[in-house]
């Protein structure tokens, strides 16, 4: 099924749910005001449900808006979003009975920066998706670009494009993955020496402006007060000094340990183009290797950081 048909299916499902009063709100995506940036949209009435859409530019993770939300809600969820919803149910932040999942197979989302990089200095006014291709239009040009060249990095190695849970599946199941090998790309610095690792780490994060968009976009970050905002004690300095930036990113990544689904919402949200998945992916890999766990795959699974086994690896302890 193509995007237009799926979008229509989502709208119809939403209108029905809202019309029958089964949910108070349908959380989905609406067409953005600028190209390639479809944004989270809350439809409270069947009329508002007309604005819902579906495309390859749905880069936000909607599970974020389900956190501790009162009332009944429906959420449009592709693979990663559904995994985060499962995580939130398991962490007692969302009640499964208040949640209606409108599942969709993800086509692999598009990285708008990669598209823009193909047209340096040119203004893109519209991007259309036709099958495996994008038609990028601007003033005086319209060119085809293969979708698989401009996908987000995490979408190449995703292993769960179909929703894990769904109360209704729009467009049926599709391919489960794109075929990329997660282990190959998860921890590229492992083969480097310590000094080179540090250099790569500094280089990767040097442009961070500490706006916290990465944290705000992440469905795992639901603490009432985040450690970066606390002032008594102040865990982390507020400057753009390399030590403060490093502290923020190391701790943010660590707090996602055993919970991050590699949804890529953090990277998509960053105004500075920082690749913070370089840290979260390494942890994701360690959790898989050490404890054999993948986040968000089953309701009722206990997060690995809240468990222990007597024979957990401990060769680093003397």
């Amino acid at each position: 099924m193509d995007n237009a048909a799926i979008a229509k299916g989502i709208r119809e499902a939403a209108k029905k749910l809202l019309g029958e009063g089964k949910v108070d709100v349908v959380i989905g995506y609406a067409k953005g005001t600028v190209p390639m940036r479809d944004y989270p949209y809350f439809a409270y009435t069947p009329e508002e449900a007309e604005n819902l859409t579906w495309s390859g530019f749905c880069c936000n993770n909607l599970a974020l808006y389900a956190i501790r939300r009162p009332g009944r809600m429906a959420v449009v969820a592709q693979g990663c979003v559904s995994r985060n919803l499962v995580g939130l149910v398991n962490e007692n932040q969302v009640k499964r009975e208040n949640l209606y999942v409108i599942g969709v197979n993800s086509p692999g989302m598009v990285d708008r920066r990669k598209v823009q990089a193909l047209f340096p200095g040119q203004t893109i006014t519209e991007v259309e998706e036709v099958g495996d291709e994008l038609i990028v239009k601007g003033v005086g040009f319209a060119e085809k670009v293969a979708r698989k060249k401009v996908m987000r990095q995490n979408c190449y190695t995703c292993v769960q494009r179909n929703p894990v849970i769904s109360d209704e599946l729009i467009g049926g199941e599709g391919p489960a993955s794109h075929g990329g090998n997660l282990d190959k790309v998860a921890a590229p610095w492992e083969k480097l020496g310590s000094s080179e690792r540090w250099a790569e780490f500094q280089e990767s994060f040097k442009d961070c402006i500490r706006c916290y968009a990465c944290r705000d976009a992440c469905p795992l970050c639901y603490c009432h007060v985040c450690f970066v905002d606390e002032s008594q004690p102040q865990w982390c300095g507020k400057t753009q000094d390399e030590a403060d930036v490093a502290t923020f990113h190391l701790l943010r990544a660590f707090h996602c340990a055993g919970r991050c689904t590699d949804c890529g919402a953090c990277e998509s949200a960053c105004p500075a183009g920082i690749k913070m998945r370089r840290l979260t992916m390494k942890i994701e890999k360690d959790i898989r290797d050490l404890y054999g766990y993948q986040p968000g795959m089953a309701i009722g699974a206990q997060p690995p950081m809240t468990l222990f086994k007597p024979n957990d690896p401990q060769d680093f302890i003397k």
Partner: protein, 65 residues
Amino acid sequence: MFARRRFAVLKNLLEYAGLEPGRLHFSWISSAEAQKFQQTVTEVTEAVKALGPATRMIKDIRKVA
């Protein structure tokens, strides 16, 4: 026991990001093991001395003030 998992992941992460191996140490020591404590502290001090002063994760107040 919970901490063991968290430290395993944290240590891997810090060393992955380029903290020198040998700066971060973990040990189980009971309050009744004075000798082990003394011995561990000596070992840690020696290991860190051998690495020299830290150059990473250092904030220079003069630079940011």
